[in-house]
């Protein structure tokens, strides 16, 4: 259900796994986050992702477990990469299935909002100005608050 890994992931394979042996769910929502070329005023060439092994998995499990309490959802898959990544590389994947679309949309959004604020990952970007730690974004803490 949850993977923290250096290696890349295959969205089509993840989609197949979400719909396999799953005749009760009529909705699948998937989100993929990628490395982009511009952030916080810097031209970005790539980044490295540090995490807190052990706590990372625990924090993600708690977030998924909370989402399962709040919504009627079926399968959940969360993948987050760590280590060195280049532009346009995939960083994070969240996939959720549910009977109807609303629960899958909301749960996927909730998982990403909490992942951004609670899961111990840190990005260090390689920019034209050298290596720069990404500063936490106020928009992300606001996005978590909408869930009460």
């Amino acid at each position: 259900m949850i993977s923290v890994q250096e290696k890349d992931f295959d969205v089509s394979a993840e989609y197949q796994a979400l719909i396999q042996n799953n005749t009760t769910d009529g909705a699948v929502v998937m989100f993929t986050g990628l490395v982009r070329d511009f952030n916080q005023g810097n031209v970005v060439h790539g980044l490295s992702l540090e995490h807190y092994p052990g706590m990372t998995e625990k924090a993600l499990l708690e977030i998924v477990s909370d989402a399962k309490q709040r919504w009627s959802i079926g399968k959940v898959r969360v993948i987050h990469r760590v280590g060195d990544l280049n532009l346009a590389d995939q960083i994070v994947f969240v996939g959720v299935t549910s009977k109807h679309r609303e629960d899958a949309f909301d749960a996927a959004m909730y998982i990403m909002d909490f992942l951004k604020n609670r899961a111990p990952f840190w990005k260090k970007e390689r920019t034209t100005k050298g290596e720069v730690w990404v500063e936490a974004n106020e928009k992300d803490s606001v996005s978590m608050k909408k869930w009460g």
Partner: protein
């Protein structure tokens, strides 16, 4: 004894990824951070309350929470994954 871990830019600023602290009794996170801040001015500046998150036994917690002997404490900057 407790283990204290540091991550990301905090680890770099302190030039320390992990250290052990001997405890005679249960203490608060606040107490521990104040003790560590007395190391020198760099530690005091780096460990300012509003810039540091704390986890005890791999769960986020507040500065008033308790730390007991054998716990794993981690101090780190706000997270930036996703």
């Amino acid at each position: 004894m407790i283990k204290v871990k540091f991550f990301a830019q905090l680890r770099e600023r302190l030039n320390c990824s992990e250290l052990n602290v001997d405890l005679n009794s249960s203490v608060t996170v606040d107490w521990l951070v104040k003790q560590l801040s007395e190391t020198d001015q760099n530690w005091a500046d780096s460990l300012k309350k509003d810039t540091v998150l704390v986890a005890v036994n791999q769960t986020l917690c507040g500065f008033n929470d308790q730390i007991n002997d054998g716990d794993e404490v981690a101090l780190f900057p706000p997270v930036t994954g996703g």
